[in-house]
Amino acid sequence: MTTWISRYRVPYALLLPTGLVIGLVILYPFFYNLWLSMTNMSLYHINDPAFVGLRNYGEIFKESELYSVLGKTIIWTVVNVFFHVALGIALAVLLNEGIRGKGIFRALLILPWAMPQYIVALTWRGMFSYEYGSINLMLTRWFGLEAVPWLSDAFWAFAAATITNIWLGFPFMMVIALGGLQSIPKELYEAAEIDGAGAWQRFWRITLPMLKPIMVPAVSLGAIWTFNNLNVIWLVTRGGQPADSSHILVTYVYKAAFTYYRYGYAAAFSVVIFLILFGFIIWYLNRTGALQDGVAR
């Protein structure tokens, strides 16, 4: 025992600070949350929480709310990630062509990503305002359309948050795709051109498959971030308004914890969310072969 410790003293000493930080900010909260999820801690029992076993979990699965919020979360994630990737790749392809003023466009297109989400979300909320928002003004004055009840209608509120988040999220995918595009050798396109492929076929048969190895991890990251994106929905819809109709799982939990102070319940809900995400990512990485050797063929 003593020899073992003395032998590895230096490596462990070096690992210790990292280990402490990880323990403090990841492991401790994770297990604290797990414990919390099995208590009845709330505003009434803030100082004397009692162990209640899996009662919180039972409550979650009995509530019909879980399934509708989960459904919205999936729609939210799929729609957002789809547009992030589609817009990102499309813009990256355009930027990768020799267009004039490429540097300026690139800088402008990365801008949304560089701005604090908080400020972006509030700015968009202002633009979505029914009477004074620039979007409705444009729709009515320029296109002669009717004003859209962006923030007061359940569907439109969700759409407003989605649009905001798409705007915030595409630059990340664009930057990743741009890096991927630049690593595709030019001769492949020339060979394909001689083989008879038009621009569209070259995109589907060369560009996309060659981007896949780099986009798969980016998409899984993007899916996790979007799934767990509290800020945008919370700020654009003012905490799930109207009438708690535009929640995704994390905003729902956030509200349960910090508006209704149902700590035990919210903790259990977080564990459920964690398991859903964890399961999804394992499935996705397996399916796309990202966990196997040979992705970067």
């Binding site: 394909a192 051109e193 001689i194 083989d195 076929q201 048969r205 498959p209 063929r297």
Partner: protein, 356 residues
């Protein structure tokens, strides 16, 4: 199959960089034509113009009787093999070869049979399910060849396809490619900077320098009757010996102070010329008044190259091809002679060949 004609082709890249000027070139139907020249002389540019990967600044390009100057590559019915293979990394060897046929929406059974046929021609059937990264350089090059063959194109274009292979594989693939050409008879334009490839593969070779065609002809003719000093120096390894300012008179010439008889010298106008002698037309001769000091003897197995300097005031460099048991050591002064019938003369100023 078709002939390829470039007419008065002009190519100017960005920043007024003129690479080709007023270039005329005809590739005959079914011919194996090799473009050879030093790096940067415009070989790839010519090939890429034929392929349609580069536009011409001026002039015309015809394949068959069709003017394809502004026709996109995919409608030109050509196939190209690239130096670094350009195989699609995400597709198996089979799919790489099938790519062009799939794009052209050919029926499945036809694709299958064509790919198998090409694979057996190149003996790569066992590799068909492998991805490019699992193939060796030679195997990749075969797959790239297969991809060109299955398309049944009118013209094959090769851009230095063997330069990434080792020497042994290179000579194997040389034979393979010329064999393929003999069997398929497809018009072929082959670019290389390696004059051995040019000599062994081409039915005709085109020697280029600085975007200008120096000579076109069958390899032996180019070797035996180089049109100018550049061609004479470029073709042949080791290169031709040149002796500047050689006086030629009535009965012979004066080589570094040594008079040499020259049968038929009367057909050359008297004057000063550049004399060219191939290393193999020199031989050792202790009696000869021509003498050189040996700098280096380089045995290559079957023969030896003797490098030295002429024993005269201007000390020209001399390279001689000798039998491997040559009796010469570094520092020796040896006598040598040459076959005057095999001497080449070039104009001292223009470098053009002087016929005699």
């Amino acid at each position: 199959m078709a002939e390829v004609r470039l007419e008065k082709v002009e190519k100017i890249y960005a920043q007024d960089k003129r690479v080709l000027h007023n270039l005329d070139l005809q590739v005959r139907d079914g011919e194996f034509l090799v473009l050879v020249g030093p790096s940067g002389c415009g070989k790839s540019t010519i090939l890429r113009i034929i392929a349609g990967l580069e536009d011409v600044t001026d002039g015309r390009l015809l394949i068959g009787d069709r003017d394809v100057t502004s026709v996109p590559p995919r409608e030109r019915d050509i196939a190209m093999v690239f130096q670094n293979y350009a195989l699609y990394p995400h597709l198996t060897a089979f799919e790489n070869m099938a790519f062009g046929l799939r794009i052209r929406k050919r029926p499945k059974p036809e694709i299958e049979s064509k790919v198998r046929e090409a694979a057996s021609l190149l003996s790569i059937e066992p590799l068909l399910e492998k991805y490019p990264k699992a193939l060796s350089g030679g195997e990749r090059q075969r797959v790239a060849l297969g991809r060109a063959i299955v398309r049944d194109p009118q013209v094959f274009l090769f851009d230095e396809p063997l330069s990434n292979l080792d020497a042994k594989l290179r000579s194997e693939m040389r034979a393979e490619i010329t064999g393929l050409h003999r069997r398929l008879g497809v018009t072929t334009v082959y670019v290389t900077h390696d004059q051995v490839e040019a000599m062994t593969m081409g039915q005709r070779i085109v020697v280029l320098n600085g975007g200008v065609i120096q000579q076109i002809g069958p390899p032996l003719e180019v070797y035996n009757r180089p049109a100018n000093r550049f061609v004479a120096g470029f073709i042949g390894n080791p290169g031709m010996n040149f002796f500047e300012q050689v006086r030629v008179g009535e009965r012979g010439m004066d080589l570094g102070g040594v008079p040499v008889e020259l049968p038929g010298s009367s057909s050359i106008p008297a004057g000063e010329f550049t004399l060219g002698l191939r290393p193999e037309s020199l031989s050792l001769d202790p009696e000869s008044p021509l003498r050189m000091r040996v700098d280096l003897v380089e045995p290559t197995g079957g023969e030896a190259f003797v490098y030295g300097q002429l024993e005269s005031e201007n000390g020209h460099r001399v390279i001689m091809k000798a039998p491997s048991d040559v009796q010469a050591a570094v520092g020796d002064v040896v006598g040598f002679r040459f076959d005057p019938g095999k001497a080449h003369f070039f104009d001292a100023v223009s470098g053009d060949r002087i016929e005699r």
